[in-house]
């Protein structure tokens, strides 16, 4: 029974496709899955916008939107109608074709990333052998669309904002990839389904998720930092900060194109969290063996929403870093730690099973983190201060 619930979407698809003649079935199956993804994730995006506003509001001790629909849940409908009915202004001197294509490219690239995420047992759209590589290759096109947006607006402030955004995204691509390489090394495969399958074992009821290993925890934290920077979320949202000088790469966009940028940013957040879940949090596997009866897709989406909640929590708490500070942080702190993480992951593999490898790996990582943190603060002359009073 639980098995059927777990596979319910697969069975549904097979049943629907069964109505068509044999030659059409594979193509129809794929089309059906694609349509599901295209409908599901924007709906999730709509839910997330309300969730974010209400979450931020509760952190700030106020109620978020609650007038439109029960508990404000129809707010995205109102926002969508608003953005659709706004006038679509294209500046006269702007490059119209590129201006039109930039948001499209963003949304298309991000949707393609969803194709390789395993959202449940047997629920991958396309099981590519090099799924991780495909994901990162497509994900890099989002940076292209940001630059296209800034360039085509023919506005020097948009261009500055776009260049800053692209610089930030490129700098954090490297730690993002490096932290995933450790996972690939240990699993021995680039295929996302195999990575999840490798984590789907249990010892004494506890799972073998990579986050529960020293190198996995470090890798996950660095992946999370890099993911926050990739999607331009706080505390790395200088390119789109309203109170900064430069207004950002999407200044010259209004109406539905702006909504598409917004959609693209949130979908990028979903897909990067989905990848992080797959790599480190075990994808669709249950946290405890006794909970294995709960359908796998429920686990995947709960972990996804948990990551989104953490993004919102970070946004509500932390101030922004300045541009040069965040680039410094990427190149001088996160990247060396990811390289060290690779070594530690290798050591983990070759130290054999037992408690020694836990102690050694944790000690090395902890010392490196504390040492680099301390020297970084010293170099920048930061630190808590004590104040004296006048006598």
């Amino acid at each position: 029974m639980t098995e059927r619930l777990d596979q319910i979407f697969v069975l549904l698809e097979q049943w629907l496709v069964g109505f068509l003649p044999g030659a059409w079935r594979p193509a129809a199956g794929v089309v059906l899955s694609v349509v599901t993804i295209i409908c599901l994730f924007p709906a999730l995006f709509a839910l997330t916008t309300v969730f974010e506003r209400k979450g931020l509001a509760r952190i700030q001790n106020r109620i978020g939107p609650n007038r439109v629909g029960w508990l404000g849940i129809l707010q995205p409908v109102a926002d969508g109608i608003k953005s659709l009915t706004k006038e679509d202004i294209v500046p006269l001197s702007a490059d119209a074709a590129v201006h039109f294509l930039a948001p499209l490219l963003l949304v298309v690239a991000v949707f393609m990333g969803f194709a390789v995420l395993p959202m449940g047992r047997n629920m991958v759209l396309v099981d590519v052998d090099a799924g991780l590589l495909f994901f990162f290759a497509i994900g890099a096109s989002t940076e292209l669309s940001v630059f296209m947006a800034g360039w085509s607006s023919r506005n020097k402030y948009s261009l500055l904002g776009a260049m800053r955004a692209v610089a930030q995204m490129i700098s954090y691509e490297v730690p993002l990839l490096m932290s995933s390489v450790a996972v690939v090394m240990i699993t021995g495969s680039l295929s996302l389904t195999k990575i999840v399958a490798a984590q789907n074992h249990y010892t004494w009821g506890l799972p073998h998720w990579y986050i529960f290993t020293p190198w996995g925890l470090a890798g996950f934290l660095m992946y999370a930092i890099a993911a926050t920077a990739e999607t331009n979320r706080s505390p790395f949202d200088l390119p789109e900060g309203e109170s900064e000088l430069v207004a950002g790469y999407h200044t010259e966009y209004s109406g539905f194109k702006f909504a598409l940028f917004f959609l693209g940013e949130y979908l990028a957040m979903f897909s990067i969290s989905g990848l992080g879940t797959t790599l480190f949090l075990g994808g669709w596997s249950a946290p405890l063996q006794v909970l294995g009866w709960v359908p796998s897709w429920i686990w995947f989406f709960s972990k996804l929403m948990l990551s989104i909640f953490v993004f919102i929590w970070l946004r509500g708490t932390l101030p922004r870093l300045r541009q040069d500070q965040l680039m410094n942080f990427a190149w001088k702190f996160v990247l060396p730690l990811t390289l060290l993480n690779l070594l530690v992951a290798a050591a983990w593999r070759f130290l054999g099973d037992g408690w020694e490898r836990w102690v050694v790996c944790s000690a090395v990582l902890l010392m490196a983190y504390v040492g680099m943190g301390w020297s970084g603060m010293r170099r920048g002359h930061f630190g808590p201060r004590r104040y004296r009073y006048a006598e």
């Binding site: 931020l56 952190i59 700030q60 001790n61 106020r62 020097k156 706080s234 505390p235 949202d237 200088l238 900060g241 309203e242 109170s243 900064e244 000088l245 946004r315 509500g316 708490t317 932390l318 101030p319 922004r320 870093l321 300045r322 541009q323 040069d324 500070q325 603060m377 920048g380 002359h381 930061f382 630190g383 808590p384 201060r385 104040y387 004296r388 009073y389 006048a390």
Partner: protein, 392 residues
């Protein structure tokens, strides 16, 4: 170091007459940007014309006057009492301290004495205003740094309790119009004093929560330390007063220097900064909130019974004898002074406000030269201005 020591030691501090703008290195042309007047973080309608070389600020010209309302000229046509509600609207966040400064100036002009209960009430309301102002100022600074307003909302939650107190006593939350020449307008009931004690008892917890959220936050330290350094000599020569001056290490608090009202009965400490940067300015404000809480607790315990206004004091239709007077207080933003010249008529001959925000703003350029443009917003926020006072 005290103010006097500075003036004696260095008559002409280095750099006091250096040219205001730097020269750009590199042969690129300068990027001229106007920040404001429509800007989410300029504390009102204020414009800064900055010239940038890459990301560094080469010149900065502040442009203000968008909120000029002819306050000083209006006062020449109005009676002394009639100007009191307009003083509320100078520094519109701290209306009670504005009222107090004006009342002090007129009392100095006429020689009017103030009953003791009124003095205690003035101290209580003044310190409550100081706490509200400093908490909001810190909240706004962090909002500009992009924390989406969370510390601001916490500060406003504490502020709401204080505004309710103001409304119960004076009738209005912000434009209080409460001080009069010779005392206060209405007396405070024992129930009000009890409510105030409850609010003050809840304040240390708020300050602790605030501090936990902020100090030790590495991003805050990275953004604010080492930015916008203001050397003490330059601060003294430019006439900067208030928390900005104390964050630059100069021990000058008018509550201690003048001892106006009954401030010499309250033992409170004056925190001083040692690194003279933005981080010091906002930590000094946080420490001053704690000192104000101590003053409040003592004042609420010691407040005597009595009247709050001499029944024979005239508030309307009075004509002070010809003369001049300057009354100043330690407002939350700096030294707020009122200079009045009376010619014996019912209206003042000259009414001049010494706005601390404007005078603190004059060295914005010196503090921002060579800094990143993203830091200019923070430096500007640390000066803590209100445009109502800058433009009057």
């Amino acid at each position: 170091m005290t103010l006097g020591a500075f003036i004696q030691e260095k008559n002409k501090p280095e750099g006091w007459n250096r040219p205001l703008a730097m020269k750009p290195d590199g042969d690129g042309e300068l990027l001229e940007v106007a920040m404001g007047p429509h800007h989410p973080s300029t504390h009102g309608v204020f414009r800064m014309d900055v010239s940038l070389d890459g990301e560094r600020v080469i010149r900065l010209k502040p442009v203000f006057g968008y909120l000029h309302r002819n306050h000083e000229k209006l006062a020449e046509g109005m009676s002394y009492l009639g100007s009191m509600p307009f003083t509320d609207r100078l520094d519109y966040i701290c209306s009670l301290t504005n009222n107090w400064a004006y009342a002090l100036a007129v009392e100095e002009l006429t020689g009017q004495a103030v009953p003791e209960r009124a003095e205690y009430l003035r101290v209580i309301l003044g310190e409550l205003t100081r706490i509200v102002n400093h908490a909001s100022s810190i909240g706004f600074l962090i909002q500009e740094m992009g924390a989406s307003g969370t510390p601001l909302m916490y500060a406003f939650k504490a502020r709401e309790n204080v505004l309710d107190l103001f409304e119960a006593l004076t009738g209005a939350r912000m434009m209080c119009n409460y001080m009069r020449f010779g005392g206060c307008r209405v007396d405070a009931s024992p129930a009000w004093l009890e409510d105030t004690r409850k609010v003050v008892a809840g304040l240390p917890q708020f300050v602790d929560e605030f501090e936990r959220l902020l100090t030790g936050n590495e991003i805050l330290m990275a953004r604010c330390q080492g930015i916008g350094i203001l050397k003490p000599e330059l601060a003294v020569n430019a006439g900067v007063t208030g928390p900005m001056l104390r964050a630059s290490g100069v021990n000058y608090d008018i509550r201690k220097v003048d001892g106006y009202g009954i401030y010499n009965r309250f033992p409170f400490r004056v925190p001083l900064g040692e690194h003279w940067d933005v981080y010091d300015r906002f930590m000094i404000r946080l420490l001053e909130i704690r000192e104000s809480i101590k003053i409040l607790e003592q004042a609420l315990k010691e407040i005597p019974t009595g009247t709050v206004m001499d029944s024979k004091a005239k508030i309307r239709g009075f004509r002070p004898k010809p003369g001049e007077a300057y009354g100043r207080i330690e407002a939350p933003k700096g030294e707020l002074g009122f200079y009045l010249i009376s010619d014996g008529g019912p209206n003042p001959y000259r009414y001049r406000v010494r706005p601390p925000s404007l005078i603190n703003l004059t060295i914005l350029e010196d503090m921002s030269l060579g800094q990143n443009v993203a830091d200019v917003v923070l430096i500007f926020g640390s000066v803590d201005i209100v445009l109502g006072e800058v433009d009057r």
